[in-house]
């Protein structure tokens, strides 16, 4: 060795571990309304600053302010609020169902409802969504029956996926909701391909996809951005940065060094960084990107800055790796509370109506669950026919699968 200072390996560490005080002091939260809103057709190199700011519409007094305010009518806001409340109630019920042994696994999106639901509101119903496992809100926003979702979670006799998939891995072509994969990130470049096909056909439907902060580390993230850039695909690529990937904080995905939105810059794509707990900001950013895509100006990468309020899944115990009360300290609050306060501030909502709605959604979920359970839960005998296990591997069943089905005697 020469006479030089030795090299050393850097290993990222989160701000706080169990037993320590939550510490979000490093997070700079700009004033709501302070970020400029360029024309949706602006060249990417003129708007790189948006990758480093944070688009916010709802201010501390719950008022909607600034150029990104989408000016949604109160009825739409109330629908958005209700869908978020319904989604949270649904998650709570399904989580309990798993704890009660009625299914094997469940994943909540608590605290992140706006990231999927506000986006779904801004998109057309037939724009194609390529979600991860944490965007159940899209299906609920699009009116997919809760009972059907529950039947999937229970792998029961009415499960549209015939008991084949892990709970929450929904699929609904009718609702332009792509089959969810257990393999992280694979849907990101697939969404680009779908968007390229839409452009190839001169269609006007665009695609949107969602992945988590941790998933940006997969090679498919790079494939998606690069193909989207090269062919100017009409697609919205969302990164839901909820700060955690199971037990690993976003620093292990590169979040310690810069923003995820800034990944767009190296591909000549616009990157927007958005308050993911602000329903109006998420709506406005999605709408901006959708307009850009529909105008043949290609893809946008949107970082939705939020926090995973609960465990990664029912298999996880977050108190093992982060302060249990971290969510309370989260500077961007709760998307439901913030939209509720906004509606109240507008005089379009009240504590009473909110409680009333809360009762309604819980009751709606309870009733749906009652019906779903009547068609069976995991491990019960009300399930799809075992025969179906051999179907849909191919369009037509080849001889070897027929023979295997016979061997099983079904």
């Amino acid at each position: 060795m020469k006479n030089r200072k030795p090299l050393s390996l850097h290993i990222p560490e989160p701000e706080a571990r169990p037993g320590e005080q939550p510490d979000f002091s490093a997070i700079k939260v700009p004033e709501a309304g302070s970020v400029r809103r360029p024309d949706p057709d602006a060249p990417d190199h003129e708007i790189r600053d948006l990758a480093y700011s944070l688009i916010r519409v709802l201010d501390d007094k719950a008022a909607a302010v600034g150029p990104w305010n989408p000016r949604l009518d109160p009825e739409t806001l109330r629908r958005g609020l209700r869908v978020m409340m319904l989604t949270r109630a649904y998650d709570d019920r399904m989580y309990r169902a798993q704890r009660q042994g009625k299914t094997s696994f469940y994943m909540k999106c608590t605290g992140e409802e706006a990231c999927s639901i506000a986006a779904a509101f801004a998109l057309d119903r037939d724009d194609m969504c390529f979600p991860s496992y944490r965007q159940q809100g899209i299906l609920i926003a699009r009116g997919y029956p809760l009972v059907t979702m529950m039947c999937q979670v229970y792998s029961n006799e009415l499960d549209p996926l015939k008991g084949r998939q892990l709970p929450i891995m929904y699929s609904s072509k009718k609702n332009s909701f792509f089959t969810i994969s257990g393999n992280l990130g694979t849907q990101f470049p697939q969404a680009v391909g779908w968007a390229m096909a839409s452009a190839y056909k001169g269609d006007d439907r665009i695609a949107a996809s969602w992945i988590g902060d941790g998933t940006t580390a997969e090679g498919d993230f790079h494939q998606a951005l690069n193909f989207a850039s090269v062919y100017r695909a009409p697609v919205i690529l969302n990164v839901v940065n909820n700060q955690w990937a199971i037990s690993s904080f976003s620093g292990f995905a590169g979040g310690e060094e810069t923003t995820f939105a800034s990944r767009a810059i190296g591909y000549g794509l616009p990157g927007l960084r958005v308050d993911g707990n602000d329903f109006l900001a998420v709506y406005a950013a999605t709408d901006w990107a959708a307009t850009r895509a529909r105008n043949n100006n290609g893809a946008t990468l949107i970082e939705l800055y939020t926090y995973r309020a609960e465990g990664h899944s029912t298999s996880d115990d977050p108190t093992r790796y982060r302060p249990s009360d971290e969510w309370k300290a989260w500077p961007l609050g709760d998307p439901i509370e913030r939209l509720k306060d906004h509606l109240i501030a507008l005089g379009e909502w009240s504590e009473e109506r909110h409680e009333q709605t809360q009762k309604e959604v819980v009751e709606e979920v309870r009733a749906a669950n009652k019906e779903a359970e009547s068609h069976g839960v995991l491990g019960g005998d009300k399930k799809p026919s075992v025969k179906t296990m051999f179907e849909d591997v191919y369009e037509e069943m080849p001889w070897h699968l027929r023979r295997q089905r016979q061997q099983l005697g079904v």
Binding site: T179, D220, V393
Partner: protein, 337 residues
């Protein structure tokens, strides 16, 4: 009818399908303006336009992922992976996605795509331009694996693959693109024009997936082969002076088990030939199936003649390649057993 080599036949299959079906498109590395490093897409961009046949970034994973998304939309993409040796970056998208869509969505979504890729050695390509990865794909439920051995089959099988609603891995034996190489590397190369199967209809026709071809009837023993090895098997039969029944599988999955079983029940002896490395190659599955289905007819152990379990060495192609000499030895062993 026209006389075509295998490249021309493959080109013709894509040309026909691009003409018939506006949802068919072709893309891959260097396939557009240039026409592909093996010229398989020559002229297609000029004739059908840049939006129907175009170059891609060098990201096999992205190429396949994008094709899956297009398939989900309703298109029928044909993608070229420049060499089978370079398909591995796309492995996750093929195994976890293309192969699984239909099953996991209960038929809601599927990937009607064809992945064309040249495979096999004998062109001094070294270890990264010579591999035969077919066995791996046959282990993946949801994929079909097809390998032609003549221009006629190449076109007919490729059209079937393109029209198939499941993802098809279409492996092209690059050593026989220009002529039916029979493993006698020391002899002058034969052009396809001298081979009857170079007579190829100009238009649309299909060779069904899942049907093998008995390319030579015989009674002494059965040789199971595909791709380049079909021609090696035929030459070996000549050289050995034995009455072998030579079966060209054409589809590895789905496999035409009946044709295989019928033949081995007749001959009672079986030699399996492939260029891929031996251990866990497709010959293993064939041997397992043959002994399961024909056990009481077998008069000798089933022999596998394959590439060695090493990378494909640049300077030792003809020591690595399972040529007629090794096949004949195996045939003799099987007959003498």
């Amino acid at each position: 009818m026209a006389t075509m080599n295998m490249i021309q036949a493959i080109n013709s299959a894509m040309d026909v399908m691009l003409t018939r079906d506006p949802n068919v498109l072709v893309f891959g590395e260097d396939v557009g303006y240039f026409g592909g490093v093996f010229r398989a897409t020559e002229g297609l961009q000029k004739k059908h336009g840049v939006k129907r046949c175009f170059d891609t970034p060098i990201g096999e994973g992205g190429i396949v992922a994008v094709a899956i998304g297009m398939g989900a939309y309703g298109l029928r993409p044909i993608v070229e992976i420049q060499f089978a040796d370079y398909i591995y970056p796309a492995f996750d998208q093929l195994v976890s996605e293309a192969a699984r869509l239909r099953y996991r969505s209960a038929g809601d979504f599927f990937a009607p795509m064809t992945v064309r890729t040249p495979y096999g050695g004998g062109i001094f390509g070294g270890q990264t331009h010579s591999q035969s990865p077919e066995a791996i794909f046959t282990h993946v439920a949801g994929l079909k694996t097809v390998i032609p051995s003549t221009p006629y089959d190449a076109k007919g099988l490729l059209i079937s693959a393109i029209e198939d609603n499941d993802p098809v891995i279409f492996l092209e034996p690059k050593r026989i693109y220009n002529g039916p190489f029979d493993g006698h590397h020391d002899r002058p190369v034969q052009p396809w024009s001298k081979h009857p199967a170079s007579e190829v209809p100009d238009g649309y026709y299909k060779v069904p997936l899942g049907k093998a071809a008995v390319v030579r009837e015989g009674n002494d023993l059965t040789i199971l082969a595909y791709g380049t090895m079909v021609h090696v098997a035929l030459a070996s039969t000549e050289d050995a002076g034995l009455d072998a029944e030579v079966i060209d599988l054409r589809s590895l999955l789905p496999l035409d088990i009946d044709t295989v079983t019928k033949s081995v029940e007749k001959t009672g002896r079986c030699v399996i030939v492939h260029e891929a490395t031996r251990t866990s190659g497709f010959g293993a599955e064939l041997a397992a199936l043959v002994q399961e289905n024909c056990f009481y007819h077998l008069e000798a152990p089933i022999e596998r003649v394959t590439g060695w379990d090493t990378p494909y060495p640049h300077a030792f192609e003809w020591d690595y390649f399972p040529g007629p000499k090794r096949v004949v030895e195996a045939m003799r062993r099987v007959m003498e057993a």
